[in-house]
């Protein structure tokens, strides 16, 4: 599961999908996840990076991450 290559994210969390013209405002954690994906990390890497960085139990992290990835998928931001 990879972020589409041409997705543009500004420093303030404004994401633009040049393929569809859609734009989104990301909160800080969403921005972090999207940037991890953009750097080429796979989902397992992202999970580990977040787990190392935040005080969170694995189940909550997995659930929230999965929800967010689904949201990205729904908005055509991921390569299938």
């Amino acid at each position: 599961m990879k972020l589409k290559r041409n997705i543009a994210i500004s420093e303030n969390g404004f994401l633009f999908n040049p393929e569809t013209g859609d734009s989104f405002l990301l909160n800080p954690i969403a921005r972090e996840i999207v940037n991890f994906l953009k750097e080429g990390n796979d989902v397992a890497d992202v999970k580990q990076l977040l787990f190392d960085r935040y005080e969170v139990d694995l189940v909550t992290l997995e659930k929230n991450l999965e929800d967010f990835l689904e949201m990205l998928q729904h908005n055509e931001l991921l390569d299938r």
């Binding site: 041409n6 633009f16 040049p18 393929e19 569809t20 013209g21 859609d22 055509e76």
Partner: protein, 348 residues
Amino acid sequence: MKKTKYHIAVTGLNNTDNPGPGIPVIRGLRESKDFDVRIIGLAYENLEPGIYMPDMVDKAYQIPYPSSGMNTLLKRIEYIHSKERLDVIIPNFDAELYTFIQARERLQKIGIQTFLPTMDQFEERQKANLSQYGEKYGVKVPFSKTITHRRDIEQLKDSFEYPLLVKGKFYDAYLAYSAEQVNSFFNRISAKWGMPVIIQEFIRGTEVNVIALGDGLGNTVGAVPMRKQYITDKGKAWGGITIQNDKMMELTRDLIRKTKWQGGMELELIKTNKNEYYLIEINPRIPAWVYLAVASGQNLPEALVKLALGLNPPPFSNYEVGKMFIRYSYDLIGDISQFGNLSVSGEM
């Protein structure tokens, strides 16, 4: 080096909330790096805003409506030509294109060039022929049917699901949820645009558009896809953004290659959530949002003039993605003397 100055006549100066392409076309022409222009505005109405906008038209002339016939229109053009020595005319209204396409050779004889689709290209993409068009060129189109009488409305439920679209042959489209609504829209549209009225399957999805210019030999000189960001109650884009979309570009190039399209065009497409593209309409002219293409690196009005003059412009290879346009309204102040001049002498 001194640039050549071309005298170019442009229609579609109705820069209203449902704007014609005249003013953005003129803006593109005035930004040409290769030639200078004298712009002659051709207006149907005295209050077309483009006539009064500063630095847009150098001179404006009233012209008769296409319904008054080709000879009447040509007589007026010949008079304007005698005063202005026109090089090119860019007609920008769907309703006038038929007459200008028919008049192509007569205009050419007196030294005025156009760059419009052929009559066959113009006719086969008519909304009423969209189903056959889709089949012929391998493009997905919504199912559509033409009707000419109110009694046909009751039978629509056999071949359509509601809601469906009721469209005029040139302009206007309404979404109808029942036969009663179809009836009301049918009356409204047929009174305004005549017959037939087109009934079209409603495809759910996002509306996206492509502006393109074909050289008449099958080559795409330029193309820019756009997503509407804000749509007025008339369904017109009030804001839009250029996008990067290979599927839309391929569909456009393919269509121009197969049809050998000549002139400007706008493809109106619906992208479904299954990522399929349906062609819902082809406008056989430059659309009103052409200045977005100019601003993103493709001066299509300039290229169209070059094509009309046989100058073979090189094709555009790219454009800037993420360029936006936002329309606005602004009160111009004029003087009654301007209006008076135009009303009395038909020129200003």
